[in-house]
Structure formats: C-alpha cells, structure tokens
Amino acid sequence: MSALKIKKGSSSHSAYDLRDPNADVVESHTLACVVDNEAGVLARVIGLFSGRGYNIESLTVAEVNHEFHRSRITIVTSGTPQVIEQIKAQLGRIVPVHRVHDLTVEGASVERELALFKVAATGEQRVESLRLADIFRANVVDSTLNSFIFEMTGTSEKIDAFADLMRPLGLVETARTGVAALGRGPEK
C-alpha cells in the first residue's frame, strides 16, 4: 500500500520526527543549585545533563553550609532559551535540590574562577612570563630554576586571555576550578 508518498531520507521513515525543534539562538547561562550534600547528589545533577543531552561548560561543587549539609553546585551551561528553561525545571525536580538560581538573568552577579598555570621557560621568556603575571595580578605559588606555577583568580575570560599569553612562553599544564558565582546585593 503506497498511500504515503514519502521522499527518501525524510523523517517520516522514522518513528520520530528527526527535525531539531530548537534550532534557535544558543546562550550561555550560569546556574547555581543549592542541594543537600548527600551521597549521589552530584551524580543526579550531571546524570540529568548527560541523560537529556544538555551541555556542561563548567561545574563547581563544594559544601557551603556544614551545619545543614548544603552544597552549592555552580554550572555554566549553554542552550536555546527554551532548553535553558527546561534545564532549570528539570533541576528543580530533583528531590535533594532546594533552589535553582539563573544568575545570568537574575540581575547582576559576580563570577570568579581560580586557575593554576605551569610555565616552563628560561632566559628572556622566563622574565616575560613573570612580567605578564604581574600585569594580570597572578601570584607565583611555586618556582624552580626553569619553571613557575602561577595562581590567578578572575573571570573565565581573563583566565583565557592569560593562558593565550603564556602559551608561546612555555605553558605546559593548566588546572582550572570552573566558575563560582553569586548574585550581587543583599538578597539570598
């Protein structure tokens, strides 16, 4: 029976509609989740992202209230506005998640990341790396005769910029914490 006249490769050959319904502008958002610090809570959060195909650009987590065992998970994610709303709603559904803040839309916020850079260089390059570190207010936290480890705190963009400058000077290894963020002002 050929009541259907379907072109080859059309999504009608599938049991699903294969067109992307969210072909829209992709935005980056910083989300902060306050959760119970119980076994498996981080797995629930990241499992949600991998299971539903959302992006994680950076992830930071630590207990912030020892009395009530609350942790703060800061996630930088990207997606269309519809996907971002979905991510927030899905996070809110997880039982040990207390609050979800979208710091990108809830007014001004402060975002900081800590990074460590190991730069192996000698001679003029070694001096240049130290000079640039000074300009970027990076601290030397370890030194050998042919290497430095710089520590720097700042926005992700500032850290990227510093990494770009260090690369030709002998950058061998980088460690970054991912973004920690708080909304400005007195509100919780």
């Binding site: 029976m1 259907l4 999504s11 509609d17 067109r19 519809q82 207390h98």
Partner: protein
C-alpha cells in the same frame, strides 16, 4: 515511645503503617531476613511472581487500578536489574511505586560481591528518587519518605536499596508522622490569575477543546468528576491521550475519542483547528503532537500540569498553570460559575456541527469478513459482551493496543492500564495480575498480541498459583503487527524479522499451567467463545486467530501534521457499502 527492632522487622512495620496490603516480589539471598519477617505475619499479602519485571508491572497494574502506590520487593543484583524496565515504565507513565531491593552487606559494597550491582546508580535515571540505606536507624524514615515522594506531586517510582546487614541490625523505628518529608512538598494549587485567564479564554472561545491526559487520572476520581462537570456545563469537546482514557466517559456527549498517531479523525482535526486548547494533565508527547511546527497552529494554548518541567518542554503555551489537576479544575469551575457560566453558545454549536461532520467520515471503518476474524471485529464483540461487567482492561503494546484504545469504551477512570510512554511489550499480562489481585471479583482482561504476550508468559505460573481469573485475550496474527505495518508503509514491504515463528499451541500451553485455553478461528464462533472465556472461573488464554495483514488506521505518520492522516483501506478504497463492511 521508641521502638527497637531489626531492620527487617522495621520494613514490614513501615509497610503496614503505610497501609500496604499487598506486595509483589521474588526472594533471594539479600532479602532473606525480610522474607523471614513476611513469613511471620498475616497483614501483608505477598504475591510471588515468576520474574522481577513481572513484579513491577503487576504493582503498576495494582497502583493504576486502585490509586494506591504499588509495592515491590526483590533481591540484589539480578533482582534489581530485572526491575529496571518496570521502573522506567512507571517513570514515563507517572505510576506511584515503592520498590525495595536487597543489597550486599555495607562492608562488601564495592567489592564485586556475589549478586552485587550498583542498584542506586543503575536506577537513578529511572526512578523519581532512590536511596541506599546504610544505617538501620534511618531505614524506617527512608521508607516513609519513599512513599511520600512516590505519591506526592507527579507520581512515580521510588527505590530503597537495603544492604543485608542493615536488615539484621537493630535500630529505632520511626513512625510515618514523624518522618521528615519537608524537603519535598510540591504545590498543588494553581496560580489564580492564570486560572482566571484560562476561564476567560474559554468563555469567548469559538472552537475550544479539552485535551486530557493521565494527570487527570493520577489526580484522583474527583478530578475526573470535575472535568466531566465543566466539559458538559460549558459544552466543550473532550479528547484524551492513551493514558487519560476513562477520565471523561466514552458515552459522554462531548467525547470525541482518543487523539494522536492512531487517534480518531475527528479528535485530531479538532486539535488542529481549535482556537483554545486546554491541556489538562497531558504532556504534548510526540505520539500526540506529530509535526511540531504544524501542531494546532491557530490555537491559544493553556497547559495544566503539576510538573513544571512539562511546561514549554516541546510546545510553547500561552497560559501555563502549575498545579494538581483536581485543585486547578475545582478553582476554575468556581471562577467560571462566579463569572456567570459564560460560553460562546452560537460558535460552540457551529463547532460541534463541524466535529459531527468530521465524525461522519467514520474513521474506524474497516472491511469485515465472514471467513476470518478481523481484530477490530474481535474487539467490538469483546466490548459488546463485556461492557456490562465490572471490567478492567490491560494491554500489551502494538496494534492490538491501539485498536483496544479505539474500539473499547471507558466510562470511569482507573479501568484502563496500558504502557504508554515506554511502550513496554510484556506489560499487560503481569499488569492484569496486579489488577486482579486488587479487584478479586472483577472481570480483568488483557488485550494482547501474541508476540508481546510471550515476553512475560512465565507469569502464567503466578496466575495459576493464586487462582487469578485473568483473561488473556490474544489477537494472534503471527506477526509483530505494528512493526510489520511500519515496514509495509515505510520500508518497502521488507518484513525484516517481524513475524512470530514457532508459536506455542496456546490451548495446550494454558492446560500445561492448569488453566483454560480457547482457540477461536471463525467469526461465527467468536461470541460464544468470548462468553465461554468470561464465564470460566479461572485464568484463560484466548487464542484469537485474526487477519494477519490488517493495518491500524487512522494514522498520522511521524513528521506529519494532525490534519495529514492516512485513513483505513475501507475509506481509501471506496469499499464501504459492501455487505461485509462494518461501520463504526
């Protein structure tokens, strides 16, 4: 008063305090202390299944037909992994379940012990929430929390993983009322402004429609009552998803049938052309919407859902209302009445006339035969002959499921148990067992295809052991009918592995389990055979040999819009009018 007891005793006590009367399970090494406690009491009935998947589906059937949570007890490792399909099924269909699994002792976790599996890891994405209990003192409270989470808000399955040493050790029992459940308190009431906006839309709507789903049934019988009251008072046509059948009665004056991929022509056309769509407890599933960018293009959409993540997930809505269907409908009715029960009567009568015109297409028509039983005819006769009974229907998954949804009418909620979201073949038989356990005197029929039914046929042992008179109504086309249909329509009639080879003799199979088998091949014998099935006091396998190549219509192919349906052969081949044609 603080009560000290072993973990195993605590589990049984917690189940009793939660009002549990029945559990479905299968013993094993890691749950022996619990089974020992079950042995020593008579308040909770344990139904021994033949496979853990069967236990979970049976508990789903029990839950769906009673409105109470279903309870499952299985052992560690393979016991838990066998439960995974059922858990996922319950998650997608929002069925409240509490599954208790045994685990190796706490000091052995992580050593790859015998029958060890990372149960909470495996079941994290297929439960609403799960817990591993490491201290006996926390065991009772965790079980109470599991019941709370499973039943509050959008229902779903929860799982509590209990290591064997926690079952043996003594601890303090926590009463349900002192268990800490403050963390999870979903709001039930919808926003009054949004509800008022919905009422305003309905008052002036020219072509309104109620698109109802499983949420109405999950909300409880009161929600169904309120839905009927409002739909009938405001004269709004009602369509429903597969999961919502029965919330509005099939005999009701505003019923326009199921919508979606195999929904009725009139229902899908009304969805496409409506100007105000009120989604009540449904979730814009892809089997419902078809092509998203052509989904109901002219309508203003309202969505009532208790789960905020359902709102704007796939379809953008104009008025979102987050709350329990029952509570929201109660408020909506109050507001609508207080504002003077306004409707746009003139437009509504035109709208109903339009729907009647669509109905006149008689989309469920098929060409009947007096030589071979057509599956649609078998279901029509089943409907006619069982309607007057206290009847519950379960189904497997495939063509028979869609035909059952099209041809059987449901007058009340909780009478129709089917695997909608996950589409689990093998669901229906164990589910019928769970329903029959909950309703011992009712007529419980599983409408099945032979291929689905074979997936959990071991449960014949359970049906026989507990003398559960479940009727297995198998529409046997010796094919994976829906797969075959897709291959015929979309894959050049190349029937890759979609037939049932080496089928058992179902009559002998029934007899081998001490049950009754009935074979029916002739349309003329069908009524007598169905009556024989109904009247037999015990489990029956009804092997109904049907037309092998019948397709299920109407059908919206994936990627097509609601008004782009393919109709049945009876419609397309102009064959209606033949003496054999049966028009519905």
């Amino acid at each position: 008063m603080k009560r000290q007891m072993t973990g195993a005793k605590m589990i049984v006590q917690a189940l009793k305090d939660q009002g549990v009367d029945t559990i479905f399970g299968y013993p094993g090494g890691a749950v022996l202390p619990i089974y020992d406690e079950i042995f020593q009491q008579n308040d909770i009935r344990h139904i021994l299944v033949r496979h853990e998947q069967g236990a979970v589906h049976a508990a789903e059937g029990y839950a769906r037909s009673t409105g109470k949570p279903g309870v499952v007890l299985v052992t560690s490792g393979p016991g838990a992994t066998n439960a995974v399909t059922g858990l996922t099924d319950a998650l997608l269909d929002s069925i409240p379940l509490v599954v208790l699994t045994g685990q190796v002792p706490t000091f052995m976790i992580g050593t790859d012990g015998f029958q060890e599996a990372d149960t909470v890891g495996i079941t994290r994405p297929c439960t609403k929430h799960n817990w591993l209990v490491k201290e006996t003192d926390k065991l009772a409270e965790t079980i109470h929390q599991a019941f709370h989470v499973a039943t509050e808000g959008r229902p779903g399955p929860t799982l509590v993983d209990i290591p064997k040493d926690v079952q043996f050790a003594k601890g303090t029992y926590t009463e349900p009322k002192t268990a800490n459940v403050a963390n999870y308190q979903p709001s039930m009431k919808g926003d009054v402004e949004a509800i008022t906006a919905m009422v305003e839309l309905l008052e002036t709507a020219e072509r309104p429609i109620f698109y109802t789903g499983g949420g109405v049934i999950n909300s409880g019988p009161a929600a169904s009552q309120l839905l009927c009251e409002w739909a009938d008072a405001a004269n709004v046509p009602v369509t429903s998803t597969l999961m919502g059948l029965g919330a509005y009665p099939a005999s009701g004056k505003n019923w326009i049938g199921m919508l979606g991929m195999h929904g009725l022509y009139e229902a899908n056309m009304a969805m496409h052309d409506c100007d105000v769509m009120i989604n009540i407890g449904a979730r814009f599933d892809d089997r419902i919407t078809g092509r998203l960018d052509a989904f109901s293009p002219k309508s203003t959409k309202v969505h009532i859902d208790i789960d905020a993540s359902s709102i704007n997930k796939v379809i953008h809505v104009n008025v979102p209302i987050i709350g329990d269907v029952g509570h929201v409908l109660e408020d909506a009715l109050k507001i609508w009445k207080a504002r003077g029960r306004k409707t746009n009567a003139e437009a509504l009568s035109k709208w109903h006339a339009q729907i009647d015109e669509w109905r006149a297409r008689r989309c469920l028509s098929y060409i009947n035969s007096d030589k071979i039983i057509k599956p649609q005819y078998a279901l029509q006769r089943l409907e006619a002959l069982t309607k007057k009974y206290d009847r519950y229907i379960t189904t497997e998954v495939g063509q028979h499921q869609m035909w059952a949804a099209q041809f059987l009418g449901f007058e009340a909620p909780n009478r129709w148990m089917t695997s909608g979201g996950l589409g689990t073949m093998g669901y229906g038989f164990p589910a019928s067992i769970g329903v029959q356990v909950a309703h011992p005197d009712a007529l419980v029929i599983n409408v099945a295809g032979e291929a689905s039914w074979l997936m959990n046929m071991q449960e014949m042992g359970t049906a026989a052991q507990y003398r559960l008179p479940v009727k297995q109504f198998i529409l046997n086309n010796e094919r994976l009918g829906m797969v075959r249909q897709w291959q015929e329509l979309l894959h050049g009639e190349r029937y890759s592995h979609s037939w049932s080879e080496s089928l058992p003799d179902f009559v002998k199979l029934a007899e081998a389990f001490g049950a009754k088998g009935i074979l029916c091949t002739d349309p003329a014998d069908l009524d007598d055979a169905i009556m024989e099935m109904i009247e037999y006091d015990g489990p029956v396998i009804f092997d109904c040999l049907v037309e092998k190549h019948e397709n299920c219509f109407p059908m919206i192919p994936s990627g097509k819009a609601h008004n782009d349906m393919i109709m049945g052969e009876a419609d397309t081949s102009d064959a209606i009018g033949d003496t054999g044609a049966v028009l519905v």
